[in-house]
């Protein structure tokens, strides 16, 4: 788990990463690190896709209507994705 993940900041899918929809959610692949991750919840996939157009991670959670009770688990999952470079800080995001 990275200490540097900050849900107050804007994030986006890493420029070297792609998502592929699957019945259980999605697969994420980073072409640089060659790491594959399983996103095992459709709501998490929605949030990751919403990141690029959101001013912060919290804004993306609100936008996707993530229930309060689920937010800690989603934030933890996002921190893991940041740690494996599947999402990155969206520098210079103008939102």
């Amino acid at each position: 788990m990275t200490a540097s993940f900050d849900p107050e900041l804007a994030y986006r899918l890493h420029r070297q990463a792609e998502l592929r929809d699957e019945q259980f959610g999605a697969l994420a692949y980073h072409f640089g690190t060659r790491r594959l991750s399983f996103l095992k919840a459709p709501i998490l996939v929605d949030v990751v896709r919403a990141l690029a157009d959101s001013a912060s991670v919290h804004a993306a959670l609100r936008r996707c209507g993530v229930p309060q009770a689920q937010r800690p688990a989603i934030l933890q999952a996002l921190a893991g994705l940041a740690d494996s470079q599947l999402i990155e800080v969206h520098e210079g995001a103008r939102l």
Binding site: E22, L27, Y29, S37, K40, I43, G80, L81
Partner: protein, 416 residues
């Protein structure tokens, strides 16, 4: 299965951990470990070749057909492919196809014996993103390697490694099939990889292709399997295994990886003529799912083939389901059973509980040689051009002398 799968990060969000195998049972929209053999042509004649390679097949996919397959991978989001053969680099359009794949968002790892990896090729690879190279050796010394892969092949592989290292290509893979003859060299293999800042990859010998002919003499002994398991546990994720030793998981804690047979679920093979098989080790009509040249192409084969649908259904485990180790090994490797003539719903021939040995011994006498044979054979028919000495494996003599008192040691052997 590929190295990439081993580094999968599982991201549950609902607090209910679900086994990945349960997700895979539904079938994926595309494979996550696709092997694509570009040609049956090879400059070597390794005794254990899983695809019985040697001679090019006249109906291999053309450059345009290969590009169309890559286009399909891009549409399906097959993120990367493992390219092999045969020796893929002997295709004159190999570098063109490599560039085409990378330009179309399909990463490539290719396996080679190193024959074409001169200094210029190594520099080119080092300057290319999203390509990984895997060099095959089956001994940490020339004598052990060349007995299986042919005279001079160790030197060729080492030259390729030196060229890659000199070009600054770090982290390439050194791929070893563990055999009875090299199982004692694991530390030497690791040292070889460390010397070139490469990563060691160990995989399991399967009785596939020409491997069926030598498996009985080359597969590691039960003692060697236990030692291999201990070595893999001690070396952890620093050594890749392609998830191929899950049949050893019954010896203790599971090894890193998915620990299941991914055939048709996460894995498949496209062979040089476009035939799609359940896995790289099952080139046999029983595991043929379709062809990429048919209407709908590869996507239709992957999603709709009856064979793959049946492989994605949960299996009962057959006679293994009552074993206390079933959750660890799930009955082992389908190809290993099939090509040793064992039932698919029974134990793996190298079952750590010893059930495989018993099953092999219980085969009807005289049927050991009638296990299913691979569908195609592209082996060289004579000596390999440019190779002074072919592979000369040290095999046990299974033929009995004609008569106990024969004086001529060549008695009964062809003399021409």
């Amino acid at each position: 299965m590929s190295a990439e799968v081993l580094s999968a990060v599982d991201t549950p969000v609902d607090g209910r951990p679900t086994k990945l195998v349960d997700h895979f049972a539904l079938g994926l929209n595309a494979p996550i470990c696709l092997t694509w053999e570009l040609t049956y042509a090879c400059n070597l004649a390794c005794v254990h070749c899983l695809s019985s390679s040697g001679r090019r097949d006249p109906s291999e996919l053309s450059t345009a057909e290969c590009q169309a397959v890559i286009d399909e991978f891009e549409r399906m989001q097959v993120f990367y492919v493992n390219i092999g053969g045969g020796e893929p680099t002997v295709r004159s359009d190999f570098w063109e196809l490599l560039d085409y794949a990378i330009d179309h968002h399909v990463g490539v790892k290719f396996s080679t014996n190193g024959v074409k990896l001169d200094a210029a090729a190594a520099r080119r690879l080092a300057a290319t993103d999203y390509v990984d190279v895997q060099i095959s050796v089956d001994g940490a010394s020339a004598d052990v390697n060349d007995a299986v892969r042919g005279g001079g092949s160790f030197g060729t592989a080492i030259r390729a490694m030196e060229n890659l290292a000199a070009a600054g290509f770090t982290g390439f893979k050194i791929s070893v099939v563990v055999t009875r003859q090299n199982a004692g060299q694991l530390d030497a293999f690791k040292a070889l990889a460390d010397r070139y800042d490469a990563q060691l990859r160990l995989t399991r010998l399967r009785p596939s292709g020409r491997g069926a002919d030598v498996w009985a003499d080359l597969h590691p002994t039960a003692d060697q399997q236990r030692e291999l398991y201990r070595w893999l546990v001690a070396n952890g994720e620093g050594v890749l295994t392609g998830d191929s030793f899950f049949h050893l998981s019954g010896l203790g804690d599971p090894l890193p990886g998915l620990n299941l047979c991914g055939a048709g679920r996460v894995v498949c093979l496209i062979d040089p003529i476009g035939d799609v098989y359940a896995c790289p080790f099952t080139i046999h009509e029983q595991f043929l799912a379709g062809n990429v040249r048919s209407p709908g192409g590869f996507a239709t084969v992957w999603r709709d083939s009856e064979l793959f649908a049946s492989l994605r259904r949960p299996d009962s485990g057959g006679t293994c389901s009552s074993c206390s180790m079933f959750d660890a090994c799930r009955g082992g490797c389908m190809a290993a059973k099939f090509f040793t003539g064992l039932p698919l719903d029974g134990p793996d021939p190298e079952c750590v509980q010893g059930y495989g040995e018993a099953a092999l011994a219980a085969r009807t006498p005289g049927t050991a040689g009638t296990a299913p044979k691979p569908t195609g054979d592209h082996s060289h028919r004579g000596p390999v051009r440019g190779q002074a000495t072919g592979p000369v494996p040290v095999l046990l003599m299974t033929r009995r002398p004609d008569r106990a008192c024969d004086e001529n040691p060549l008695a009964g052997l062809p003399t021409s």
